[in-house]
Amino acid sequence: MGNVLASSFSPSPVTPPAPPTGAPPPPSAGDSFTSDETVKVNGLNPGAIEDLHKKCKDIFPVNFEGAKLMVNKGLSNHFQISHTLSMSSITPSGYRFGATYVGTKQLSPTEAYPVLLGDIDPSGNLNANIIHQFNKHIRTKFAAQIQDSRYVASQLTTDFKGHDYTASLTLGNIDIFNGSGVAVLHYLQSVTPKVAAGAELAYQYGSQVPGGEIAVLSLAGRYTGQNCVLSGTLSTAGAHICYYHKGNDQVQVGVEVETNLRLGESVATIGYQLDLPKANLVFKGTVDSNWTVGAVLEKKLQPLPFTLALSGMLNHAKNQSRFGCGLIIG
């Protein structure tokens, strides 16, 4: 307990205008609002809208380029540090130091709060996350990204988890001096044990925005079946539909279609995940409508706590390929 199992990759940001949450991976302790290994939701609470497409998105591989060496070491039950060396020609190479602190307030055997995540490199570029759960209903998250001594991105999220609904408010990049920022309001309600419906209102104001302010309303829905999940969001800016299907313990398949009406383009993606625990292997593959194929292979090299990650991505249309390999120790 208290041992924070950091997942390999961080979640995607809330909305397009909101800032990215940065490199440090959040602990699995933060998954208290979402369904666990099974497809059924815990009780009636539908989870947050951020996790609406989570089951499907988790299937898709996150391709990386270059070599990556990560050494994780747990100093105590509450504290864990990581050293990361990344060597690549596409993204600048460098060393990053990361630290994770898990607090003492324990809500269940797998979660403890507050959680502080940080990631810094020798030039002073910092990504930081602070997650805290005040009580059973309210959870707050603050993420900041500092580059070249200024705040590039900052995001404050507050979730209120009710009996069968979840409401959350996110404030991003609030700049008092320039008068710009993004505010997003989410609401997701569990209509039946299998169906959840909700809405998202995103509001952006500032001098950069044409007209001074802009708001986008979108609807969200999710249907959870026996071993499949269908979720979608619909707005004037586009539609995003995900379908997840669990074949058996070893195979999971996901299909995603994303349409952007402003740019007039749509992308369809098929992904699959193969779990072979006997071979200590997790393989994720994806095929795109942009003529892109990609795959990530993660293998635990027993008996030492090494994990080998191999990533390959090939774009047939542009005839471009990106390959990466990584070794995670500890």
Binding site: L274, L276, K278, A279, L281, F283, G285, V287, V293, G294, A295, L297, K299, L310, G312, M313, L314, H316
Partner: protein, 169 residues
């Protein structure tokens, strides 16, 4: 009627040709004495008659031109149909070659990324299982191998036959 006209026209044609021919022969004799080439036949602008057997005129047509001339015996529609069929076949073979190049490249490179690692790992895992089974069989006897067969579809039919033990090879 037409044949008569044709014949008369032919006779009319032949008469001046004969006179021209006789004058030409006289010319040639003179030029042969002078030592000039036989290209003077062309310079006089004389049409090639059907009954002439001059070797000079045969050399003016190459083999390809003579074969091409043979095709003129077929009607125009047949000629154009055969030509378009040939051109279509050649063009489609070329297109198919180019298309199959792209298709094979896309198929094999995508399968090298998407499918090959999984297949290799599954094979390795199965081989390791088989080796472990054989080890157990050697150490603990044949019955241990049957009881320890995994659920990966590697069912041993009945007690394993003794020739599978490597020590007996």
């Amino acid at each position: 009627m037409a044949s008569e006209e044709g014949e008369s026209g032919f006779e009319l044609m032949n008469v001046p040709e004969n006179s021209e021919e006789s004058s030409q022969i006289k010319k040639e004799d003179k030029e042969a004495e002078a030592g000039t080439s036989s290209s003077s036949a062309l310079e006089s602008g004389e049409p090639v008659g059907l009954f002439k057997t001059d070797d000079d005129d045969d050399l003016d047509e190459s083999l390809g031109e003579r074969l091409w001339g043979l095709t003129e015996m077929f009607p125009e529609s047949l000629r154009s149909t055969v030509w378009s069929m040939m051109a279509g076949t050649v063009g489609s073979v070329k297109w198919f070659y180019g298309f199959s190049r792209s298709a094979f490249w896309i198929f094999f490179s995508s399968s090298a990324i998407l499918i090959a690692p999984v297949i290799f790992e599954i094979e390795r895992m199965q081989m390791e299982e088989m080796q472990k089974q054989q080890q157990r069989q050697i150490l603990l006897g044949p019955s241990a191998a049957v009881s320890s067969s995994s659920g990966m579809g590697m069912m041993m039919p009945g007690p394993p036959p003794p020739q599978q033990q490597p020590s007996q090879h």
